[in-house]
Amino acid sequence: MTTVADYGTYETAWCPGCGNHAILGAMKEALASSGLAPHQVLFISGIGQAAKAPHYLNANLFNGLHGRALPAATGAKLANPALKVIVESGDGCTYGEGGNHFLAAVRRNIGLTVIVHDNQVYGLTKGQASPTSDEGFVTKAQPEGVHAEPFNPVETAVALKANFVARGFSGMPEHLTGLIRQALAAPGFALIDVLQPCVSFNKVNTFAWYRQRVRELPAGHDPTDWAGALAVAVRWGEEIPIGVIYRGSRPAFEERVPALAAGPLIGREVDRERLAAIVDHLK
């Protein structure tokens, strides 16, 4: 039986009070309570403060390039669908540098659990705007404030029919643990955008700012109603809904690949007789 202790405790490189700490804790709780052993789990992360998170627990890990966690995770999942593949990175990495991969991965509905630490700012590079920064957000790099419309990842994921779309808040770790546990159990692409205050570089979207605005979805919300989910997903501002916003039922990408019907790719022998027949056919 797996316990939180199996996932270990490590010193981190994060600021005291950072929203990342609670997300790490929630992740370990969710993994342990899902009965997943560390060796059954593969984390794929990019670059950024959030992308360091999987270094602070026990599991397999491929910490790749900035923005490129999703394609690497897609390849790993297709090579071995038996692995529980979790992508963990920040908003800049996932929605900015990796924006095209985000759209493609959602469209494929590849079986990944994607946890995005969304603090609406670049932390590791010390405080520039991110794709989710609100319009008018002032930084040293955007002294007149951000001129672009913020990217709403939840809206986009619902619009493109990811199988599981949720928003969490690192100030509500128990709620977040529940979301992660549900995402881990969902087939296909599962996104949790986690509101995560950056105590060093975002003085606007603070714990207090989020706490005033987050609203748990009412019990009556039907996540399987796509149009209703989309109406919830577009909400942002004075009230920010959190919880499971959408649940779809598209088949996971890996279930549709004929070569995987016989199980994972690894360890298979080359079918030499078949290949000889292919060569013979070229005569």
């Binding site: 060796h39 397999n60 090579a79 070569a259 790719l265």
Partner: protein
């Protein structure tokens, strides 16, 4: 000149020229001829001018040549463009409505022989008759291709062929064949790209990601055709950055992986290449070269990306660069690439080009039943706790696959400790750099010996790499026939180099001339950098066409290196 003839079929894209070319090539191969196909096409789906040239003979031909002995012109432009390439005694096959510009040959009443839809099959029939191919042979090939379309089409095609045979025989025209075909030992007809795909499948390929790009797309298409049967996952990714990262992720998880691209796509993969090296993940990259910079001449050939492939990716790391010269090489080198990538846990690049990619040949069937394939990962005992990047003298640490044991596998693109976690400990940094670069020494042990064709210590040694090997060897052979002792030295691996394998040959020759498909002499410069050897001249081609024996001989004569040898 080696005894061979060349047929060139010219026309617009969309006229069925590739179909005619493929069918005629296939029939020549089945009749026992060796072939070398050179395809020229433009970056458009309809119109423009395309050509399919088939050199055939029964000798060891492997190089593209310019002279045309039989021109099958499907439009007027083909007559005009190719009349200058005709060899003495060449014949033209063209519709009677076209102006033959005084060229001898057959003015064919295609409208009377077949409906417009089947005119290309009639053209095939006319050419086939002149080439002495049995009508049944052509009919069989046509039926294989169109058979599924229904009996009406089949019957129409049969009728067009029969009419074409009857009409051509009635003209009493003869075409001189290059000797007798070989005994009909069954050969396969494959091009460079198909051979690469087959070599990769036999080498253990399990995952292929790609983004369509000429001239490499058909490697992916060949793998896709057999993916379900062979248990390979393929994915057309959103861009080449995704392509390379997907392949790295798949390889990390245990599926031997390959990506196929050309220069522009490879440029997008550069960061991923560096990632494969840093995380020590096996990766095979096929770079089908075409002329640049930027989009360049997208459907033409060149050898311009050697230095790019050698230096692509930030930071310093070990890699191998292989450069096949023929479809047979493509098969063997694709296999070798998988073994090197797995053995040394890093990137291996295969440099091919448009000419080789599209060049069909008659090849002895690849014997795949006895060949071993790579197995990803390490099956032995590991020390506990497992450390993915444990110190190893040869730089190669035991590579476990995630989820296959209870040990945790941790890889990082940051500098990392032996257990895979990021570090800024500079002592560790130094040890890790040394560990990764130690692989270069191992790669040197595995270098493919360059092939010397001709006498050692020749008056003239022509040095080349990749797809130009056969053209250079043929040029050297022709020079020998004309009294110059000439030899060719052909590299199918261009990095790392083992000077012990070739420096003696370079020094023994009286004059060494580098022949390559770029404007600046990239391989010549690489050899100089690595050995200090100074070339005694060069032949360079960068107009997008393949290097031919004739091009080499003309360039050597023009440079005053050889006298009076031209073709």
């Amino acid at each position: 000149m080696r005894d061979s003839r060349q047929i060139l079929i010219g026309g617009e894209a969309g006229q069925g020229l590739v179909t005619v070319g493929q069918l005629l090539s296939k029939c020549l191969v089945r009749a026992g001829w060796r072939i070398v196909v050179t395809q020229g096409y433009q970056s458009r789906v309809r119109g423009g001018h395309n050509s399919w040239a088939i050199r055939f003979g029964s000798g060891e031909i492997a190089a593209p040549v310019e002279p045309v002995d039989l021109l099958v012109a499907l439009d007027q432009e083909s007559v005009e463009r190719h009349r200058g390439e005709l060899a003495p005694g060449a014949l033209l096959i063209a519709d009677e409505s076209l102006d033959p510009l005084g060229l001898p040959g057959l003015r064919v009443p295609f409208a009377k022989l077949a409906s417009a839809k089947h005119a290309n099959v009639a053209a095939l029939g006319v050419a086939g008759t002149l080439l002495g191919l049995a009508e049944e042979l052509l009919a069989g090939a046509v039926e294989e291709l169109f058979g599924k379309k229904g009996t009406d089409t089949t019957a129409e095609n049969r009728r067009a062929l029969a009419e074409a045979y009857r009409w051509t025989l009635s003209t009493n025209t003869s075409f001189q064949l290059p000797g007798q075909p070989l005994a009909a030992a069954p050969r396969i007809m494959v091009n460079g790209n198909e051979s690469l795909a087959l070599g990769a499948l036999s080498g253990g390929l399990r995952f292929l990601s790609f983004y369509p790009m000429t001239p490499s797309t058909s490697i992916a298409l060949t793998v896709i055709e057999h993916a379900t049967a062979m248990g390979v996952v393929t994915e057309q990714a959103e861009d080449e950055i995704a392509v390379v990262n997907m392949a790295i992720g798949a390889s990390f998880a245990g599926a031997p992986a390959m990506v196929v691209t050309s220069g522009g796509g490879f440029a997008l993969m550069a960061e991923g290449l560096s990632l494969a090296a840093m995380t020590e993940t096996p990766l095979v990259v096929v770079l089908g070269q075409r002329p640049g910079p930027a989009t360049g001449l997208p459907t033409r050939t060149g050898q311009e990306d050697l230095e790019f492939a050698l230096h692509a990716g930030h930071g310093e790391f070990a890699r191998a660069l292989l450069a096949p010269g023929s479809p047979e090489d493509c098969f063997a080198i694709a296999r070798k690439a998988f073994f090197l990538a797995e053995l040394f846990q890093g990137p291996v690049l295969v440099l091919t080009d448009q000419f080789l990619a599209d060049s069909y040949r008659a090849v002895e069937p690849f014997e795949v039943r006895e060949l071993p394939a790579v197995r990803a990962g390490f099956a032995g005992e590991v020390t506990v706790p497992y450390r993915r990047y444990a110190a190893a003298e040869d730089g190669v640490s035991p590579r476990l696959l995630p989820g296959q044991t209870r040990h945790l596998v941790i890889a990082d693109s940051d500098e990392h400790t032996e257990d895979g976690h990021l570090t800024e400990d500079l002592e560790v940094r130094n040890r890790m750099v040394a560990k990764r670069l130690a692989k270069l020494e191992g790669l040197r042990w595995e270098v493919i010996q360059p092939r010397l064709d001709g006498p050692a210590g020749a008056e003239l040694l022509l040095v080349c790499w990749g797809s130009s090997g056969a053209a250079v060897a043929e040029a050297a052979a022709e020079l020998r026939e004309r009294g110059t002792t000439a030899a060719a030295l052909h590299f199918t691996q261009v990095w790392p180099l083992d000077p012990g394998q070739f420096l003696g040959a370079l020094r023994a020759a009286k004059r060494v001339v580098f022949v390559e498909g770029n404007a600046t002499g990239q391989f010549e410069r690489l050899i100089r950098r690595e050995t200090g050897f100074e070339a005694g001249g060069n032949v360079r081609r960068f107009d997008g066409l393949p290097i031919t024996p004739g091009y080499i001989l003309r360039a050597l004569a023009a440079a005053g290196i050889t006298q009076g040898v031209s073709r």
